[in-house]
């Protein structure tokens, strides 16, 4: 077998010297029989010598021929007759029918709708993509290959938890800074990724939340906050992001602002004439109702400790409705 390939390589060399197109010359030389049997129309030119080899597709599910659903090159890139046989109106080799990507390379990329149609022809059977149509990404002309790298030998950055955020941050720059703040989910550490909470292929929830709403998504890991409780805190039940920024903050517990200011944005007159101050003397005595005890430590939560809700029905001592205990 090796000998045959060597002969073929030699043939290729002489063909090259004779000025023949390598598209013929390396038809067999550059590809193994296995590969040649698959997508010979394309791989006889697009062989292992390419700077960015497309043959690495065969390391992925797209290249598994035992799966009758798996595509060949032309399933995605179109029949591309003009690319194969020439177009007298085009100088040089004409573009394949469908060019993926968002930036111009040798050829101009196809319209996102055309690119996505090629992918969607098969992937419409996946329930995770059932709400792609009409989703924010689809409306903004994001194409599948804006995020996915199909030919990279199974190393599609966006499908690996450790590298996925880098892909998302290409557009979502605000979150890139937030995940490096001291209070954050373990995204930069590679233990969580954007798709743990969001479904970028479309969802029923706001902000492409994976579950049907923000809270249901948060509850998948923080179910202790779900309740219902004897004493519910209305904004908690409404939307966790009323108080938290899940991408990261400097304030503890990913709070959007430090208490008491966060609490003051709803509770406009709590505790009478108390003013936020520090324990180093600016407000005089330390008092749970004013000064440092509503500002430092856990601030308002120093006393209102069960702020997500309390299931304490006790009759004495009272006042559990203020989330004291």
């Amino acid at each position: 077998m090796k000998f045959i390939r060597q002969v073929m390589m030699l043939f290729a060399f002489f063909c090259g010297l004779c000025g023949l197109s390598t598209s013929q010359a390396v038809e067999e030389a550059g590809t193994t029989a296995k590969v040649a049997n698959r997508d010979t129309v394309c791989t006889k030119c697009h062989d292992e010598s390419e700077a960015r080899p497309i043959l690495s597709l065969y390391q992925t599910k797209h290249g598994v021929r035992a799966d009758s659903r798996a595509p060949n090159c032309q399933s995605c890139h179109g029949e591309s007759d003009k690319h194969l046989h020439g177009d007298p109106n085009v100088k040089g080799r004409a573009s394949p029918d469908v060019i993926f990507g968002s930036k111009k390379g040798t050829y101009q990329p196809s319209e996102p709708q055309q690119q996505n149609a090629a992918c969607y022809a098969c992937h419409q059977k996946d329930a995770k993509r059932s709400h792609w149509e009409g989703s924010t990404h689809q409306n903004r002309n994001v194409s599948c290959t804006s995020c996915h790298d199909i030919h990279n030998g199974g190393h599609d950055k966006v499908r690996e938890r450790q590298t996925q955020p880098d892909v998302c941050f290409t557009c979502h720059k605000e979150q890139r800074a937030q995940i490096n703040k001291p209070s954050h989910h373990p995204i930069s550490e590679g233990k969580m990724s954007c798709s743990d909470c969001h479904n970028p292929h479309g969802s029923v929830g706001p902000k492409l939340m994976k579950r049907d709403n923000v809270n249901d998504t948060c509850y998948t890991c923080h179910m202790e906050k779900r309740g219902p409780f004897v004493h519910n805190h209305q904004p908690v039940d409404d939307d966790c992001t009323n108080c938290h920024n899940p991408h990261g903050t400097v304030a503890e517990n990913m709070l959007k602002m430090r208490a008491p200011f966060l609490c003051n944005s709803c509770h406009t007159t709590p505790h009478g004439p108390g003013q936020p101050a520090l324990a180093n003397g600016s407000s005089g005595a330390v008092s749970p109702m004013a000064g440092s005890a509503i500002t430092q430590g856990r601030a308002c939560a120093n006393c209102h400790t069960q702020i997500h809700g309390s299931n304490n029905p006790s009759t004495a001592p009272a006042n559990s409705q203020f989330f004291f205990r």
Binding site: M8, P182, V204
Partner: protein, 713 residues
């Protein structure tokens, strides 16, 4: 095959082939092809060394599993096998196996037929702050407060560890029918910051306690770590049915929470001290209050049944839909509190969504979407916390029902000269269950803890966006958003001045400019500028007044050569909020965030890959307080809070041979966290038992890791 004349191109790879020929080219070609077409497996083994102590690198180490030890085993594995004849994939993967955040998985997948997978994953969160306390039994349900002299307690570092195990499977029953099922059980153990506190005073209408032995003493505060020991279980099963022009999914999603700890009840030894940490409080009622049970999260469960999918009327008109019903309950018994019964909590939620996308004419795209969510809180309303003071009964158990309706209509039209215009309108309403007003309840004040509520709020947003392909290499867009939220009359309850921000009248304006420029195929630059403003209107002028934001960013990527690629970005954002405490002060909170990064990846020689980046982040928060009448506030302004990090990450990979690499990683981080949360200017914030919390404000650490990576196919 006939080759047109213009396609007869002399390709470089022929030259390469001819050179390869001299070196047994076919053999190399075969290797190359195999390298490209067979999945690669690898096993990496090495060690990593971190500088400093756990306290000098607590910010860096909070999640990465490196905290406990300075030297750690680095062990990763990825074994991927594909049986080409049958399409059977077998994967065995492990990551961070030598660290406290290890994960492993095993799966088999006969492509297009069936699949199953087992996964195990640990996340270990180490609190970045250190507690100094005399507390005994910290992190248990029965901690005992034990006052010590300031700074003379033991150091305590809290951690929360999640261990999740999951199993999933799917089976194609036929080419149109797919069954999927998954089950995940996550255990969460450890402790997190919590506490109790009491304010001593007497306010008419409220139940308060008097620290009777000392008029100036105003209460007591304790930091009590909350014990965490719970399980979250999630089970999902669904059947997907696909046809030529539709997808229909029917499924069940169940989620169950089980907490091993019902309540936490502190004991106090050596006397109860006030918030000064010095003066004894003799009032038995105060002691009784602080040693009474604190409720921990109750068991709860939810079961959802749903159908969802899409349907294509034709090639240009599609619809998406979902209908779901969720039945959630919470019936944890009250026995831990010496009370019979349970809440009997039941919340039924119905969700319905319908979307439509269409291209009625060639240049026009239309998107419409309606989403309806009705949460029906069927929990019985009972008068809890009834006081026996003869005048008043209390209960804050009231219906939390809410109905949300969201609608969207958007049209996008291709205009002449490469312009594309988009107009959109969004509509959202929220209807809430509002308890009867205080006046109607007369002496039976059942709503003491309630503030202002609005039965209905509605918000309408208008969006306009113009995009233009300015040239083959430059695209730009400009967008404007204007929205207005208003609502019904406020219903005001006893806790006057509590006006939830999410119900306030609000006017929002946002503008955004973005450009994407690729002057050459090697260089691409993105610009974006954003500006926004919120104005709030409250019945009493309190709470949120207004908010402003702006941001600017530029990102660039440059391919210098096949062996060198550069990236960089600069972002700056500013947010300003005015929060009004109508009794005393107005605070302007200003947050400024700057992040800058430059990075490079490249090939130094044929067998050495290198890369790295340096990132600077600065986040500054100012809290400027003023009085409503313009006079000076009492005391000094709060200091700024600033967080800065400079992080350098470098890696190098040396290919020893085709099947083995040496990889070296170096990380160096300088971090500073200048905050007043737990102390300021050398004065700690101390709890009544002199518990204090600290974090090393300036941290500098380095990590060096080296691994031998063996690769095979």
């Amino acid at each position: 095959m006939r080759i047109p004349k213009q396609q007869i191109v002399f390709r470089k790879n022929v030259l390469a082939l001819s050179v390869l020929l001299c070196f047994n080219a076919a053999a190399y070609a075969e290797d190359d092809v195999e390298a490209l077409t067979k999945p690669e497996s690898s096993i990496g083994l090495g060690a990593g060394v971190s500088s400093g102590s756990s306290q000098t690198r607590s910010i860096f180490d909070q999640y990465n599993g490196l905290r406990k030890n300075s030297t750690n085993l680095l062990l990763d594995a990825s074994v991927i096998k594909l049986q080409e004849e049958t399409g059977l994939w077998t994967r065995l993967e492990g990551r961070n196996l030598g660290l406290d955040n290890r994960e492993a998985s095993f799966s088999q997948n006969k492509q297009g037929d069936w699949k199953y997978a087992f996964e195990y994953n640990e996340i270990n969160h180490q609190e970045i702050r250190t507690i100094n306390t005399g507390l005994q039994g910290a992190g248990t349900t029965t901690p005992v407060v034990n006052r010590v002299a300031l700074g003379k307690g033991a150091d305590l570092n809290l951690q929360l560890q999640r261990k999740a195990a999951s199993v999933s499977a799917e089976k194609w029953i036929n080419s149109s029918l797919l069954f999927e099922a998954s089950f995940k059980d996550e255990e969460k153990k450890g402790a997190r910051m919590s506490g109790t506190g009491i304010y001593c005073s007497s306010i008419t209408g409220l139940s308060r306690y008097t620290c009777s032995n000392n008029a100036s003493l105003s209460g007591a505060l304790f930091l009590l770590p909350e014990p965490v020991d719970n399980h979250i279980k999630q089970l999902e099963a669904k059947l997907n049915f696909t046809g030529d022009n539709f997808l229909l999914t029917g499924g069940y999603y169940g989620s169950m929470f089980n907490n091993s700890n019902r309540m936490m009840q502190a004991g106090i030894t050596g006397g109860l001290y006030g918030t000064d940490g010095i003066t004894l409080i003799s009032n038995a009622s105060v002691l009784s209050y602080l040693t009474s049970p604190v409720a921990l999260a109750p068991d709860n469960q939810a079961h959802q049944y749903y159908v969802s999918g899409n349907y294509a009327f034709n090639t240009t008109t599609r619809t998406t839909f979902k209908y779901a019903h969720t039945h959630a309950t919470q019936d944890q018994d009250y026995s831990s509190f010496g009370v019979a019964g349970n809440l009997g909590g039941v919340v039924d939620t119905t969700l319905a969504q319908l979307g439509l996308t269409a291209r009625p004419v060639d240049k026009l795209n239309v998107v419409a979407n309606v989403r309806y969510e009705d949460k029906n809180d069927k929990t019985p309303e009972v008068a809890y916390n009834r006081l026996s003071n003869g005048t008043t009964a209390y209960s804050s158990n009231y219906s939390n029902s809410a109905t949300k309706l969201n609608g969207k209509l958007e049209g996008s039209y291709q205009l002449p000269d490469h312009f594309r215009g988009t107009l959109g309108i969004d509509y959202a309403t929220v209807e809430r269950a509002v308890p009867p007003s205080v006046a109607s309840l007369a002496a039976q004040d059942l709503t003491l803890a309630l503030g202002g509520l609005r039965e209905k709020t509605r918000e309408t947003s208008y969006r306009a966006e113009l995009q233009r392909g300015l040239s083959e290499t430059l695209n730009g867009s400009a967008s404007l958003v204007h929205s207005r939220r208003s609502g019904d009359q406020w219903t005001l309850y006893n806790a006057t001045g509590t006006l939830p921000q999410l119900m306030l009248d609000r006017t929002r304006d946002k503008a955004r400019l973005a450009a994407d420029w690729s002057p050459t195929s090697e260089l691409s630059i993105q610009f974006n500028v954003e500006d926004g403003k919120d104005s709030f209107d409250t019945p009493q002028g309190g709470g949120m007044r207004d908010a402003k934001m702006n941001s600017f960013g530029v990102d660039a990527a440059l391919i210098v050569s096949d062996n060198l690629k550069l990236t960089g970005y600069l972002n700056r954002s500013e947010q300003k909020l005015n929060v009004n405490n109508t009794n005393v002060y107005l605070t302007e909170i200003k947050n400024t965030n700057i992040s800058v990064s430059v990075g490079a990846v490249g090939k130094v020689a044929g067998n050495i890959d290198v890369g790295g980046n340096v990132t600077y982040l600065e986040d500054n928060n100012r809290y400027t307080q003023s009085t409503l009448n313009g006079s000076s506030i009492v005391g000094a302004q709060l200091p700024e809070v600033t967080y800065r990090t400079t992080t350098l990450k470098l890696y190098g990979k040396y290919a020893l041979q085709k099947t083995a690499d040496i990889r070296v990683d170096l990380v160096h981080q300088n971090a500073s966290l200048n905050e007043w949360t737990w102390g300021s200017n050398g004065t700690p914030f101390n709890y009544s038992d002199n518990t204090t919390v600290t974090v090393r404000p300036n941290q500098s650490m380095s990590f060096l890791g080296a691994s031998y990576v063996y690769k095979f196919r």
